[in-house]
């Protein structure tokens, strides 16, 4: 996560320098490929950061103040709630993937 973050920052600085010194470098196939390659990195960093904060503080929900177990709702049958959210977000992931593919396929005809 940290490595990718620094890579993104370095590439940005490099391209900013290029913009002032050698603007033609910005349109070279190699630069464009590099940018395409780095596109998912921002998302990966974001997700990785999220996992670090969520997993890293276990078993606390508020660090050294309250445990996750104590914060859980007393309602019975929480597993149904969990499975429902899992199904919802699984479905949304599927829909978003399908939508992206659809846009990419159509982009040739636009």
């Amino acid at each position: 996560m940290v490595g990718l973050g620094f890579t993104l920052a370095t590439v940005s600085l490099f391209l900013l320098a290029c913009f002032f010194i050698r603007p033609e470098y910005l349109y070279r196939p190699l630069t464009l490929r590099l940018l395409a390659l780095l596109t998912p990195c921002g998302f990966i960093c974001l997700e990785a950061g999220w996992v670090v904060t969520e997993v890293g503080r276990q078993p606390w929900i508020i660090y050294k103040v309250m445990k996750v177990q104590e914060a859980l709702t007393p309602m019975q049958g929480m597993q149904f709630s969990f499975f429902m959210y899992l199904a919802l977000y699984g479905f949304l992931t599927f829909v978003v993937t399908w939508l992206f593919t659809r846009q990419l396929k159509a982009s040739g005809n636009l």
Binding site: T73, P74, M75, Q76, G77, S81, M84, L88, L92, V95, L99, R102, Q103, A106, S107, L110
Partner: protein, 347 residues
């Protein structure tokens, strides 16, 4: 003073959410009734709704987040009880909001307009109604006040407070009210006369429905001895709000007849505000009441929250509002008063 300011921000945020998200959700409900015969009119309505609500629907979340954060920090007892008891309705609302938000975005950004467009529209419209019904169910059961404390078993604690006819009726009342507000809101933004006529009819129909459902609510409360709604007439503010909203119907219908569309929008907003203020005035200072003898949760300072927390919350709110409000007003100005903008110079 600090506690009072925190409460003021809480109610202002709640009011803005009810008004703006109300118009947004109501527009979704109106889409259910867009008609199937006239394709052109149908497409025009969808375009108008996207254009009018596109800029605000996501910004509306600021207000609900503010409400949640203030309740969480300043009224932790109420927040915890509310979130526990209303687990099922709140989950249903979250599903509804997720579905309508996704469908609205997909419809707007999907570059291919095929049969899926209809699916997005249907999901957007029906999940709007679904969400509003659940919001109304929660409001109705808060008025009903038949909660039970933590020792109770599943059904009395998690189902019975809201699984009753009165909350459901409140849900339909809220849906009609929001549809009315949305119709008046969209009306003022409509460029074409045929669409104006349509929204004017919708506004009138939704208004009539809201009156019928509102009166049924009072009748139901009277016959089922739901004394907390009857309190509305005993509380001076509640009574005033009720009377003013009834009196407002006359100039409102006049505005429909004379086609004063912009004026009608203010009436729509005012009606919803009066319902909210009347309800809050009647129920205050209680936030949550129990039917099993447990002491009610009141809108007051609690020992669980140290004075410093209120102070810090107040500072954070001041700082946050200074950051949010200018951007918010600028957004509103850009989208709703485009003629105020300077034309960009030609390149």
């Amino acid at each position: 003073m600090i506690f009072f300011s925190v409460c003021a921000v809480l109610f202002t945020s709640l009011w803005l959410y009810v008004l703006l998200a109300g118009a947004d959700l109501g527009a979704g409900i109106l889409e259910i009734f867009k008609g199937k015969k006239n394709r052109e009119l149908q497409a025009e309505q969808e375009k108008l709704i996207t254009k009018t609500l596109g800029p605000i629907w996501e910004v509306n979340h600021i207000w609900i987040i503010l409400v949640i954060v203030i309740l969480f920090i300043a009224f932790p007892h109420f927040f915890s009880e509310f979130a526990i008891i209303y687990h099922i309705p709140l989950t249903a609302i979250l599903f509804g909001i997720t579905a309508r938000g996704s469908a609205f975005t997909f419809r707007h950004y999907d570059a291919i307009k095929d049969k899926w467009y209809e699916v997005y529209s249907a999901v957007f419209a029906w999940s709007s109604l679904w969400t509003v019904l659940w919001f109304g169910i929660i409001v109705g059961s808060l008025v009903l006040g038949e909660h039970t404390s933590s020792s109770a078993t599943f059904a009395p604690r998690f189902l019975n407070p809201w699984f009753q006819p009165f909350p459901l009726l409140t849900g339909f009342f809220l849906a009609s009210l929001l549809a009315f507000v949305a119709a008046t809101f969209l009306l003022a933004e409509t460029p074409t006369p045929s669409l104006r006529l349509l929204f004017r009819q919708r506004a009138l129909f939704a208004n009539a429905l809201a009156i019928v459902l509102g009166l049924s609510l009072f009748a139901y409360a009277h016959f089922s001895h739901i004394f907390r709604l009857q309190l509305l007439f005993q509380n001076v503010y509640g009574r005033t709000c009720f009377l003013v909203s009834m009196l407002l119907l006359v100039p409102q219908w006049e505005a429909v007849a004379l086609q004063k569309d912009r004026q009608l929008r203010y009436f729509g907003g005012l009606q919803l505000t009066l319902v909210l203020v009347g309800l809050l005035a009647t129920l205050s200072p209680t936030l949550l009441t129990y039917s099993d003898g447990t002491a009610p949760i009141l809108l007051e300072k609690t020992a669980a929250v140290p004075e410093a927390t209120y102070r810090l919350l107040f500072i954070a709110l001041c700082f946050g509002l200074v950051v949010i409000l200018p951007g918010y007003f600028y957004l509103m100005r850009l989208f709703y008063f485009p003629r105020l903008q300077k034309q960009p110079e030609k390149f």
